[in-house]
Symmetry: C2
């Protein structure tokens, strides 16, 4: 059995370490999914999610699946055979959107970008005259790039806008209602400081009206899930599936912690940590990958110097320091590192530790 | 915020209370989903699941979804438009199977039974000459009935057999390989004594070969998930989605606890608790619902006596004793109670407590 006392500094692309309140909440006594105490917990959680999503959408809930399940829920509820989906691709998760949408039957119009660049809003908008949906990733976990969702949303016309906020929610500004996001999905294990396993999900009234009425998926059917969280108005709560009560207790605690600190303060902490990290990496002579001006405050991508064995450095960090950083994704697997400063890790100590350890690892590995 | 110190005796249809080792494991330090320590944890978990499933299937894994997600995974990987699915319906979860299979495009041939009765194997086998799949529930959570899966599997012919083992896995005998189960799904929150959120899932080599090669669901695609758990042979582990690491730590601990006690001993404990409970209920003058000889050792259904307010009794139990028991399901919502003695709750103290409390509640509510 693995050493259960092993503790890691999780400075990769996620999961990040948890807030201590979250760890405690995971170990609360289990309660029934129909217990009044749990119903209140679920309502608190949905209310907290509305705040971090910047929305008043009634249908804002923690899906009982990971972020990739949230991506599938976004498409299966909005596109069916032959519906046109324009998808901005500037990294691995835009790629994945194309595959998920294709399986839902969509005619996918992909708008490719160089990895490391933000999406080109005009090109995405011009890709098709009347798409059913337009989809984009706010914060690309594979490249460390932030894209301008507000411009996309304000000019989307009749289309529904699907947004992946996996690496932004809770740590970066996301204002779904102002930006015109119709369907948003995220995950718990990055800036929210909660383990992986749930997908914070939000659906606008406009998207709900235009949803696929009999989607291929029963598990992710937002029509049924609205009942699960009691968002169907007068008719009350209906049983759908057994809620993952412990993970929801953890998410409630994470949201409570973040909102007690203040969303603006948490976001400022993420920005400050990223600025210090990015400056420190450049001072070490390393080159950042993501286009300047579009770098994420949650996850930094850095080029592996010529002649350095990327995997050996990561192994050294793990073995000598118990520090995890990420490899690159896809084509960049061995030529990039991804360093996340998310949730409780977005602080000065993490930055100093990872810079010092990385310097030593590059010299020694 | 709900009172986080609230503790419940969870004697409903699930979730049950957790084994203490599970509670501790949920609060372990989070580790990365690609960390060698986690890979070992996942492998241990899959090995433990093979034991409780009674299978050597390489593709035996904890799906990152609840039991209902496991049901969806079973159908989306085995049936596509026009494939015939014969489904035995003797309760709510057989009903749900029909709906999930229909959404996957299957032509559903349902074989209805009275609720409270086990499935009639001959009738199910005679329902269609050449179905692609036959599906049945081993232990119906809605009615408390056990059905004979071995007879079904041994006579299934060319069909693939899908089995719901949600309320049996870990607490009752399930031997997937001997019984001829091709695709099995379960949940964590009943006899395994782990919170809800994962679905123990197993797929035979035969079913894997005949799977839908490009299923509608990317998230639940067993072809991709085989890579996620490294079951694809020489090509090694491939990234699919971020594993829910904390829930998997909990499941590993639950399986470890059960296998240390011994699967036979755990099953005997469930049988003994159910026998005492069922005898005690009848001594109180209450009538059991499930057909005699087919009653579950995990979950007992009992008729609400004439003139007794079912909901008031449940409320009394919750408020005065912090005991949860379940209402009936569907048509029987207010005429049945469902009493589970599962996981750590399958013991003499739970039986004595629930019998005493129920007696008082019926007299007082």
């Amino acid at each position: 059995m693995p050493d259960i006392l092993t503790s890691r500094f999780l400075f990769g692309p996620g999961p990040s370490n948890c807030y201590p309140e979250v760890t405690a909440a995971l170990a609360y006594p289990v309660i029934g999914h129909l217990d009044p105490v749990f119903i209140e917990r679920l309502e608190n959680t949905c209310a907290g999610l509305r705040t971090v999503w910047g929305t008043s959408n009634a249908r804002t809930l923690p899906l009982s699946a990971t972020g990739s399940g949230g991506m599938e829920a976004a498409f299966v509820n909005t596109v069916a055979d032959g519906d046109v989906a324009v998808i901005a691709v500037n990294g691995l998760f835009g790629e994945r959107m194309c595959e998920v949408a294709r399986r839902c039957g969509a005619t996918v119009v992909r708008v490719d970008h160089d990895w490391g660049q933000p999406i080109d809003v005009e090109r995405v908008l011009a890709a098709h005259p009347q798409p059913k949906v337009i989809a984009a990733v706010h914060a690309e976990t594979s490249t460390g790039v932030l894209s301008d969702i507000a411009s996309l949303g304000q000019n989307k016309g009749d289309a529904l806008l699907i947004v992946d906020a996996v690496t932004s929610i809770g740590g970066l500004e996301v204002t779904a209602d102002d930006w015109g996001i119709d369907v948003g999905y995220a995950c718990t294990q990055k800036c929210l400081g909660v383990p992986p396993g749930l997908s914070p999900f939000t659906v606008s009234a406009r998207a709900f009206e235009r949803r696929i009425k009999d989607p291929r998926s029963w598990y992710l059917d937002i029509g049924l899930l609205g009942g699960y969280v009691g968002a169907v108005g007068g008719s009350g709560r209906t049983y759908h599936h057994t809620a993952p009560v412990s993970m929801i207790a953890g998410l409630e605690a994470g949201l409570h912690r973040i909102l007690a600190e203040g969303l603006a303060a948490v976001q400022a902490r993420h920005r400050a940590a990223a600025a210090a990290l990015q400056a420190g990496l450049q001072e070490m002579g390393l080159e950042l990958f993501a286009a300047e001006g579009h770098r994420l405050p949650s996850l930094t991508t850095v080029k592996v110097p010529d002649g350095v064995d990327s995997a050996a450095v990561r192994r050294y960090l793990l073995e000598y320091f118990s520090i995890e950083i990420g490899a690159g994704a896809g084509f960049y697997a061995s030529s990039l590192w991804r360093i996340g400063m998310m949730g409780p890790n977005a602080n000065a100590a993490s930055v100093t530790l990872v810079l010092g350890a990385l310097k030593e690892a590059i010299a020694s590995a």
